[in-house]
Amino acid sequence: MDRDLIKIKEIFVKLLGKRWISDNNRDLTFYNRDLWPREVISSKFGVWQHKPNLILWPGTIDEVVETVKIANQNHINLIPFGAGSGVCGATVPSSSIPSVIIDLKRMNRIVNVDYQSLILDVESGTLGYPLEVQLNNKGFTLGHFPSSIYCSSVGGWLAARSAGQESSRYGKIEDMVVSLKVVTGSGEVIDTSNIISSEIGGDLNQLFVGSEGTLGIICSAELRLNYLPKFKTYSSYIFKRIDDGLMAIRDMMQEGVGGTVIRLYDELDTYIALGHRKEQQKNQGMIQKYLSDLNGDLSEIFLKRVISFPQILNTMSQFVAQGCLMVLIHSGNENEYVKFCQIKSRQIAEKYGGEDAGEAPALRWEKHRYSISYKQPKIFYAGGFVDTMEIATTWDKISDLYYEVKKVIQDRAFLMAHFSHAYEDGCSIYFTFASRAANYNDAIKNYDFIWKNALDAVVRMGATISHHHGVGLSKIEHLKKQIGNNYELFKILKRTFDPNNIMNRGKFSGER
């Protein structure tokens, strides 16, 4: 460690105490990345490009303010860190100056719960699952259920504009924000709680939400709560074609009966989702067996085959297609209305040829709703990589977007998709793709090729390059392509709130 860094470390020790600072190599290695698969590939091949210089764990907003002041005085890059489950490299230190990770997990207090206005005041280091459990115990829910709920934090959700699996009912995280307490890059505390959002002049929160730590550090937030629903119904339908299912979702959303959870799987994803069905396992051929194994035991041999021949498997999967599964969950506190929505949505599904598949697929989805992400490491161990891409557009373009992205990826990766996060005006598409990673150079080349071509197609089609994962390092070049000259507007915000460019350099508008 050079002299300047030793001096800086001493300053931070004075501020936080020795216990809450680390320059231990093991810690620095752990914090060198989030769950961006490109960095996971690098780590797997022993390539450590972006180690930070220090890790800090402040415990109060005052300590955060002082930390930012020190960073300004000493020209340090500060990277806010929640739980590290981001998948776009937003916390990867990529700056030309020393980088310090500011991990907010100690700031995990529930400051207040207002049961009359249904407002939760919570610190940003609070992890998702324990928070939801505490609220449930009191009869409430935040309504935010990302698949990363076990390993993501409130601050991370806000920084990346996260979405949960029940966004069709409760909205995305930006829809839940009442106010924020932010320490900007200049060390100023902005508390928007004095500004009720319906007031004249609009909503400042939306400038900080999604800024991925580039404008400041979100220390706490007031979020809208909901009563825990007492009643739930489960339904599922099989559509012959993906387009039929999409039209059904659109009508359900526009009629206001779309439900709490509404998900439509493409043919391959459906096959895997229904892989547990006993009748389906009878008489299945080799390909069917391979595919249904994806849902069960992911043996290394099997995975190696899958990721070695993605294009063949993509083609063959068409022959086993058995339609597209839609999973629907309606919930609420007015039983009669919940049932009404279920009946109405059934009528819409039937209008587009949806066949009733009973409650089982929806119940099964709910039971395993968070488990899919934890299957991904197996693919890395088997010599491949896996990643997900969440894009969104309006209903009139959704089907074209799906086929276009599929077309540009399918030769390079084993590919499947589902449609979730539906709204009255459009929907998100969630692609999952896996491919081989025989050696570092080939893997990165293949990985970058897939992303570049897919996002080029997304920009060409006028859709958004991210619905809820954020931008980070992975999509920054395509963000520039998408917004062109208007990239200057991010720089205006950066100059306003972080004039010395010390906050998460190299992301959005900041120079490295």
């Binding site: 966004s167 319906s198 002049g201 309006t394 205006i492």
Partner: protein, 384 residues
């Protein structure tokens, strides 16, 4: 190097774009007559390294004037989106939508009754309507903005239902209003027209019960379209709450609404109100000159009642519910001229007792809040 005003004038003239010098020759007023002019103006300004202004202020010497542009409108039925030139009047837009079975979804009379109000004014004034609970407000409905920035760049956002691509730039442009951006085209989410609007009227001995009823409807997720609450004849009689809900599907929300409101201590009354009566009454309220708006989180309902009680002891006042959302609502007080200034001082003291839970806005001044205002100034300063 910056181009001179004369050089810009000549370039615009060459392209047939109207511009005119001020009498002192120190300012140039530019006027686009069609949408394609905007792109050319932007190009000239960007190359000149000058800055456009959208308001005529002492600091600017090139001013983009608000004149009628071509009226462009497109209805995207499949995605329930409407795109319109900002020069189009809201009344014309609403009428076009109505003929197709859609609506902007606003019930606030001045917006729809003022035939001259354009979408540009809607955007630049950041209009938040009353009676719009179900349809949301401007900020939640806008999907896409196009226009010209003060540096001449043409801004066009993409249209997606939701995005995770950084700060909400549309929101930034709307916040900074006419200082940074001139919107020329807007796309927003529309709503299906209801077959009918049913209205239920409730009264209660204490206004607190009616506030609680609104809070209960909002937090329990009962699907109503709007709520209108007003004190009667200076608060000497029972206040009245009217709930409007759309009739567009087989489900009837009536029982759910009655149960929820009655649980808070209000009674269904026989007063027959129709939507036009409500609009008319609200319109009359809005036209009253001296108004102060009290904004309260639901948890401060008791405090709001205390403040109203205190004020009504000293002044003759009337009031109505202006708007509400999931966690808060605003209530407007109409005051006699003599009480206006004095009331503000009283309110300042009273609202401070409730910290951030109750605050007031002086509607006469119509100023933006202090904190965002200072931030807007800094943003604008950063871009210049």
């Amino acid at each position: 190097m910056h181009s001179t005003l004369d050089e810009i004038f000549e370039l615009l003239k060459k392209d047939g774009i109207q511009s005119q010098f001020s009498s002192k020759q120190d300012r140039l007023y530019i006027c686009a007559s069609k949408d394609s002019d905007i792109i050319r103006i932007g190009d000239i300004i960007a190359k000149s390294r000058q800055r456009l202004s959208f308001v005529d202020s002492a600091n600017s010497n090139i001013i983009f004037e608000n004149r009628p542009l071509e009226h462009f409108k497109r209805l995207n039925r499949e995605s329930m989106l409407f795109t319109a030139s900002t020069s189009l009047s809201i009344a014309e837009g609403e009428s076009l939508l109505n003929s197709e079975g859609y609506t902007i979804g606003y019930y606030f009379p001045p917006i729809l009754d003022n035939k001259d109000m354009t979408f540009y004014e809607w955007l630049s004034n950041y209009h938040i309507p009353a009676l719009n609970y179900f349809s949301g407000d401007l900020s939640t409905n806008i999907r896409n903005l196009s226009g010209i920035l003060s540096n001449g760049n043409i801004y066009t956002s993409i249209s997606a239902p939701r995005m995770a691509t950084g700060s909400d730039i549309n929101r930034l442009l709307l916040l900074t209003g006419q200082n940074l951006f001139y919107p020329t085209l807007v796309t927003f989410k529309i709503n299906r027209m209801k077959q009918d609007i049913n209205i239920l009227s409730f009264s209660a001995q204490k206004i607190r019960y009616l506030f609680s009823a609104i809070a209960s409807l909002a937090t329990k997720g009962v699907r109503i379209d709007f709520a209108s609450l007003y004190t009667r004849e200076d608060g000497t009689y029972e206040p009245v709450l009217e709930i409007g809900y759309g009739v567009d599907q087989q489900y009837d929300f009536k029982n759910w609404i009655i149960r929820t409101v009655s649980n808070e201590g209000a009674n269904l009354i026989n007063t027959i109100s129709d939507y036009h009566q409500i609009r008319e009454r609200l319109y009359n309220f809005v036209q009253q000159p001296n108004q102060i708006e009290l904004i309260a989180k639901f948890r401060a309902i008791g405090g709001l009642e205390e403040i109203l009680k205190l004020l009504s002891q000293n002044f003759k006042l009337n009031g109505y519910l202006y708007r509400f959302e999931k966690t808060a609502f605003s209530f407007r007080l109409i005051l006699p001229e003599s009480a206006y200034e004095k009331t503000k001082d009283t309110l300042l003291v009273e609202c401070k007792r409730y910290r951030g839970d109750i605050k007031f806005i002086d509607c006469k001044q119509h100023t933006r809040d202090e904190i965002p205002l200072s931030i807007y100034s800094r943003i604008i300063h950063s871009c210049c």
